[in-house]
């Protein structure tokens, strides 16, 4: 399992700015922020959905949402 520490949460340019901002907001509301470490559990749904785990939370993110999380292994 791959562990990642978040450096920043920024929406990719391919996303509509308003929607990107909302996704970033929701990621913060779900407890993610720079400094948080999460594990990538697996990729499902033909590789388009990533399951991540941090603390007691498991979260399913699609490709656009996952692209907002920037970090280092």
């Amino acid at each position: 399992m791959n562990c990642i520490v978040i450096d920043r949460i920024v929406a990719p340019l391919s996303l509509d700015p308003a929607e990107g901002q909302k996704i970033v907001q929701r990621l913060y509301e779900l407890g993610l922020h720079p400094g948080v470490e999460f594990k990538i559990i697996r990729r499902i749904s033909f590789g388009t959905v990533t399951i991540i785990e941090y603390g007691h939370t498991r979260l399913a993110l699609n490709e656009q949402e996952m692209a907002c999380l920037h970090g280092r292994s």
Binding site: E29, L30, R42, S45, T48, V49, I51, H56, L61, N62
Partner: protein, 622 residues
Amino acid sequence: MSTWALVGSPNSGKTTLYNWLTGARSKVVNYPGATVEYSVGPLRQQLSEKFGHFQAQIIDTPGVYSLNPQSDDEKVTYDTLFGSQIHPPIDGVMVITDGLQLSRHLVLAEQVKASGYPVILVVTMMDLLDREGTRLDIDLLKSELGVPVVQFDGILGRGLDHILLLIKNFQPTHQPIQAPQWSIKTQEEKLKRSEQLAQKIIINHKKPQQSALKMTATLDNYLLHPFIGYIIFFALMTGLFASIFWLASPFMDIIDNLFGFLTTSTTENIPHLLGNFLGDGLISAIGGVIIFIPQIFILSLGIGLLESTGYLARVGALIDKPLTAVGLGGRSFVPMLSGFACAIPAIMATRNITSSKERFIAQMIIPFMACSARLPVYALIISFLMGDEHPLKAGLVMALLYFGSILVGAVAAKILSKMVKGENQSRLMMELPLYRRPRFRVLFLQAYSKSKTFIFRAGPIIMILALILWFGTNFPREQIGETPQLSYAAQFGQKIEPLFKPLGVDWRVGFGLISAFAAREVFVSAMALAFNIQGEDEAQTEGLLSAMREATFADGTPIFTTATSVGLLIFFMIALQCISTVAIVKKETGSWKVALTQLVASNMIAYGLAVIVVHSLKAFGL
């Protein structure tokens, strides 16, 4: 009277507490986004008396992650707290927090407190905390937050008295209420503070036992496996849909025999006309609905089981990609599956979908899902086509029909995604709850309640239909004599018959189809009523099935063939016949035009396709 709102993140246990406080039986499930509308209820009488006839109102709200709403269900909570809604003014807010997710749920509590509302913090999921081998330093939490804190056990109700004492002794503060502003900076600060606080108050006091986290990780290895996960999903769905038929079969036989006995006793012991009305009319028609209770019960139990374990959210994630291909997304899955029980709550559940285009498509296709009202119709036609000898095979055909309804929905969704303007930015971002053991007592009560609703919804309509048909087939008395073709019902039937001729059926089936617009499940009873007027001795399903097998047109050709039966199945699969669904679509889309277009278009397509299928199959000699 004191009024308190329950606010918290999705799946934190708000509805469980609401049910304990008010005695309501709102459905409790294990996935985010189950509550999409606020509910208001008075304090349970027993609790009110226990606390000196204390009067209070409790408001349950949809789950929110913050006080900055992004979807329609979150707006309901926002409006409840800060809008000029119809409910009475709120004295205080109970913020419900999951004991295992304190670090982020405490942020919401801080936001509510900052808005000016008096706050009581209720910490739930105590059983899960205990299994992790941890407990909370509640006194420290209380002093750090500056609000009362209560631990609440949703299974045993422990902590309820403490909550009631707090709200009874509460002194109103009348502070100005204002929604707090959200920014990344403040959110990050609050999150870090909450994480530090959570670390301070969580005490590891013993070794974890049956850790829910470990169990979740183990189960997810299989249930979320990129290959095995799909096999398990299809096996579970097929098992559920097939069991509706074969598992219910023995119970349906018992009910069938009982009503057969009641019908015979009534017609034999009560004088002619009244006995005929009560026996062959009313009892037979009521039996035609009650016989499907075992199937409705099993379907409700199966869906409840999936909902309560935490599996459904995972399936949403698992099939996100295939759903995206037809303009939907993983978040649409739960409302779609709920549509197998009833379209009305399922359409309301689409409020949880953030993309307006995806939400609209989901609202349009949910009525295609094979709801429980279609079940009796499918069961009757499958029984006619396959007989009673092979319940397992019939069960598999039933499963095929359910998967067929998903296919119809997928095709419609794809067409709509091309037609509806706007870019589809589907959002998934879904919390996967920890797996929990289902509480069978609760599931049985929910299934019982669904079955009761099924009877009480169809019952009055059947009574009215029975009266109308009895009158229509027995009057005018002076003219009928030995020629039933002169009855009002027969005269009316001959007028409407041209409409149903292309479907290969006669006016009696047409009468059933028209009756189904009052409630789909009434189709079977209406058929029983319409066919019994031709002098069949038997009643109930067997009687109706033999009447269907023997029914012919005037020229002696059989009415019910493989072609006409499949045609009827196609019609019921596609046609929107439920007026309540039309009303809820209007409410959710805000447009009569959309709701009525959906009603007319689905019926025209259903009729057209059924006619094509009937004539194609007839061409093959079926």
